[in-house]
């Protein structure tokens, strides 16, 4: 990713401030250490605490939060434990939704990135700029805009009806499709930018060589271009998939009750009626672990490629 590129650059061996490194980094360490690392550890602790009846926590060790995630003990809590599929189901739905959104982003994002990277001169940066602007517009506002656009009697349906594409309004809002569309819309630029960076570095003489050997364009794309720009594709997929997995706004505003995702589940434990902090902490911990696994896997892949 960009961060690594920057620090693997050539001019990093400047020593003007030799010896000051640790003290210059102290604010970063303090800030992120105290207000992010420590809180995550605290969250881990909370996931093992006891829920107070009606909200709040008691400082007593308990595995209830994780137990609730995995086992169904019946209405009165004394049935033999059965497997609880609800929460695993919510995770599975989230993975699926995030996966579909990632795929949509890739399908549109790859050609877009390629198209932009093959522009010449100034127009390239203008194209890039046009693609990135929406990302900087408030995510909430973008999601609201999408909600407005695709509602039952909204402009999208009206337009399609006026040109005779459909007879009756399509049910788009409050469906899984709406959530996928929302996630796609939220994170599309994350797909375009890394792929763009990869295509920029692509050596076009490879394509020329392939063409000289009578390879068709599509074969070149599949056999040469895609393998070469794969690091960008993988980075883009991760950048879209990870935030989609924990998204809250898109499922909440576009999805309705039936499209509950991890983010909504967690939010309900803190802001909603559930009021179950240990369970919310446990679900957050599980989500974080999943993300870290994906990222570790990615880092492994990177270092293997580098060696």
């Amino acid at each position: 990713m960009a961060m690594q590129d920057i620090n693997q650059g050539k001019n990093t061996t400047t020593h003007t401030y030799q010896g000051l490194g640790p003290s210059l980094l102290m604010p970063t360490w303090l800030m992120i250490g105290i207000f992010l690392v420590l809180p995550v550890l605290m969250m881990l602790v909370y996931s093992f605490l006891t829920k107070e009846f009606r909200g709040g926590v008691i400082w007593e060790f308990s595995l209830n939060a994780y137990d609730q995630f995995i086992f169904d003990r019946g209405l009165f809590g004394d049935d033999p434990p059965k497997m609880e599929w609800t929460y695993i189901g919510i995770f599975w739905r989230s993975i699926l939704q995030a996966g579909i959104a990632t795929l949509l982003c890739l399908l549109i994002g790859f050609p877009t990135a390629w198209f932009i990277a093959t522009r010449v001169g100034n127009s390239k940066s203008i194209w890039l700029f046009l693609i990135t602007i929406p990302y900087w517009v408030n995510l909430l506002i973008r999601t609201i805009s999408m909600k407005f656009l695709i509602r039952e009697n909204g402009p999208a349906n009206e337009f399609m009806m006026s040109i005779g594409l459909i007879d009756a309004p399509l049910q788009m809002i409050n469906t899984n499709f709406a959530v996928q569309l929302g996630l796609f819309y939220s994170y599309l630029p994350f797909m375009v930018l890394p792929i763009y960076a990869s295509v920029e570095r692509y050596n076009f003489s490879l394509s020329e060589a392939a063409a000289d050997l009578y390879s068709s364009q599509w074969v070149t794309l599949r056999k040469i271009i895609i393998p070469t720009v794969k690091p960008g594709i993988i980075a883009g997929c991760i950048l879209v998939f990870v935030p989609s997995l924990g998204a809250f706004l898109a499922p909440d505003l576009l999805g309705g009750a039936k499209s509950f995702m991890i983010g909504s589940l967690i939010e309900d434990q803190f802001g909603g009626q559930a009021g179950n902090w240990p369970f919310g902490a446990a679900v957050s911990m599980i989500l974080l672990s999943m993300v870290l696994i994906v990222l570790t896997f990615y880092a492994r892949l990177q270092s293997r490629r580098a060696s």
Binding site: I131, I144, Y185, V192, E208, V242
Partner: protein, 269 residues
């Protein structure tokens, strides 16, 4: 089949790009158009008017949104200034201080806020402040914002600093400039476009945040996104579209500024 075919061109790719732009911009443009709708119902078009903009600034809810805007702006400025300072200091350490213990881990730490899902950061921060008994309010929002703004401020600064050759600073030191003077008179002016760009990105990221703010905000404190979210819960109202349009324009202006800040001085290349 000869070499005349353009190896850079694939049929349909330009269509995908236009589709991409269409999908990205249509919802925003529609909301902008409807914000000028002179109708109480958001579904019917009742002619062009500025009434919802008047409502935003002088209507019944105006004080609420004004306060939310003040909160949003003051937090964004505080968070962006702090995060940019921290990020600049970190960039000097990472790119100008040679090798030292913990350098690799530091890079991981700087990028940590990007890797932890937002909702997890929100939960963790809420739990942390609640566990240490720190009453949530402006300060909790500010601290949380500083943390996730650091990587966004760091990226453009580091990118810029990397492109500056060390010979300028070496020359300054050869002329007996102290290290602080070298920084202030040589490195800082050169890296300034990156700093400005980083500041603006951090500013906009702070302004943008909803989830973390929603978790850590104190009683009665709203930022623009949380106020808008609260209002939208009961259905999209026309005044929300007017506010959205205004915020959208602010974002676009700031990003454009950041873009030009970053490009300025790169002409030499």
């Amino acid at each position: 089949m000869n070499a005349k075919i353009d190896i850079r061109r694939f049929p349909g790719f330009s269509f995908a790009t236009y589709l991409c732009l269409f999908l990205l911009y249509t919802p925003l443009i529609i909301v902008m158009i409807y914000s000028f709708n002179d109708s109480k119902s958001i579904m019917l078009w009742g002619g062009f008017s500025f009434r919802w903009y008047e409502d935003v600034f002088w209507g019944l809810e105006a004080p609420k949104f004004k306060q939310a805007a003040i909160n949003s702006l003051s937090i964004a400025i505080g968070a962006a200034v702090t995060a940019t300072t921290i990020a600049l200091s970190a960039a000097v350490a990472m790119l100008r201080a040679g090798h030292f213990r913990g350098k690799g881990a530091s890079l991981g730490l700087i990028s940590l806020p990007l890797m932890v899902p937002e909702i997890v950061t929100a939960v963790a921060t809420l739990i942390f402040f609640s566990a240490i008994g720190f009453a949530s309010g402006h300060a909790t929002i500010l601290v949380a914002h500083i943390v996730f703004c650091i990587p966004f401020a760091y990226l453009p600064i580091a990118a810029r600093m990397q492109g500056i050759e060390a010979s300028y600073e070496q020359a300054a030191q050869d002329l007996y400039a102290t290290r602080f003077e070298t920084f202030r008179l040589v490195l800082l002016p050169l890296v300034l476009p990156g700093v400005i760009s980083g500041f603006l990105l951090a500013f906009i990221i702070s302004l943008d945040d909803f989830i973390i703010t929603n978790f850590v905000k104190g009683a009665g404190i709203e930022t623009l996104p949380t106020a808008i979210f609260g209002s939208v819960k009961q259905g999209i109202k026309p005044n929300i579209m007017a506010i959205s349009t205004l915020m959208l324009l602010v974002s676009v202006v700031i990003v454009t500024l950041s873009y030009f800040a970053n490009r300025s001085g790169q002409g030499k290349k």
